[in-house]
Symmetry: C2
Subunit: 189 residues, 2 copies
DNA sequence: ACCAGCATGTAACCGGTTACATGATTGC
DNA sequence: GCAATCATGTAACCGGTTACATGCTGGT
């Protein structure tokens, strides 16, 4: 089980519903975890049954009722155990990189389109994460916030997200330039 | 099925045995895919059965015999189809980031150790990838190689690997500094 | 009228992980 | 003598993905 700790960590920010969590996990919760709604609802049910989170029904009028969840003491203890235990490093697994690996042996037209899209998606994420960072730190400087702010966890993971997506975007742009130049050279023969 | 294309792409460099592939995939083949030996042997069997790769037995004296595989025309066609089709973006999923997300609510001692280890592992990968890049480009400059070299795919993915691991290392170092400073502030109370 | 957003699930499937298994050679 | 490297697999499991399902409200 891997998602459970990501959910617990996400719920440290306060009470959230499954739907709200789903929105957060849809963009990857500041690029550190991605999950689909179905997975989350299932995981929330399990976590509640095990007493690691507590849910309460919130009745709404013009919308369907929802259940807000928060981490219990047992849940926090679980996170504590998890953080203390060693984990094996995670690896990148990206189809786009596989395609680039094969780029000099196959047609690159579609690949170039995809790389362009990826660069744009990366830029969109950068913008999103940057505004998130601004919201988190408020009117303090970054250094000030990281020293004395109360919830630096999300800020730090978000910084990683920004750096990752910048790298992503820059690499896409560079790769497009290289492949396009080689295409032209090849066309001229 | 996802691994199959990564294997096909890896085999574009020339004939390789399952064991050699396993070594490459163990470090993540320039950080674009990771897989275990068992997975590879199973996948190679499947790919050969489907005619996407062809294997030949190589008899060795002082070592167990091995089977070398190369991509067939059908395999190349499969790669072509794969590259032309759209893929959904991949997401980062890293336990270490989950831990950092929760860092201000749990004890960070073990986490700091792990971050240090990660920074070192990232540095080791950077060194590894850099030497790979040097080997690939030979005595040409990077620009020259990317313009006229014949196998730029591996070079480009390797560039991504270096950038990723640098980002990784820098973020670990930064995060350690932040968490450690907060620890001291908190200890003094 | 129709689509987007709110809100929550079930069930089947597949791919990746973990555990288990074997056996020879070379170097410390 | 022991560990590391070469070399190749099988089987059970689990977690993440895909497909399917429901129903109400508010805006264009």
């Amino acid at each position: 089980m891997a998602l459970r700790h990501a959910v617990l960590a996400a719920l440290l920010d306060g009470e959230l519903s499954g739907y709200q969590l789903a929105k957060a996990f849809d963009v990857g919760v500041a690029n550190f975890w991605y999950a689909q709604p179905q997975q989350l609802y299932a995981e929330l049910t399990r976590l509640e049954r095990e007493g690691l989170i507590a849910g309460r029904e919130v009745v709404q009028e013009s919308r369907p009722n929802k259940r807000l969840f928060q981490v219990t003491d047992a849940g926090l203890a679980e996170l504590e155990t998890f953080t203390a235990a060693a984990t094996k490093p995670s690896f990148v697994r990206d189809d786009l990189l596989v395609k680039v690996q094969a780029a000099d042996r196959v047609d690159t037209a579609a690949l170039l389109t995809e790389l362009t899209e990826r660069a744009q998606m990366a830029q969109a994420k950068i913008d999103l994460f940057r505004s998130l960072l601004r919201r988190l730190r408020g009117d303090r400087t970054e250094e000030e916030f990281l020293r004395h702010g109360d919830r630096v966890g999300p800020y730090l993971t978000c910084l990683r997200g920004v750096a990752f997506e910048q790298e992503n975007r820059d690499w896409c742009v560079r790769t497009i330039a290289v492949l396009e130049e080689r295409r032209q050279l090849h066309a001229r023969h």
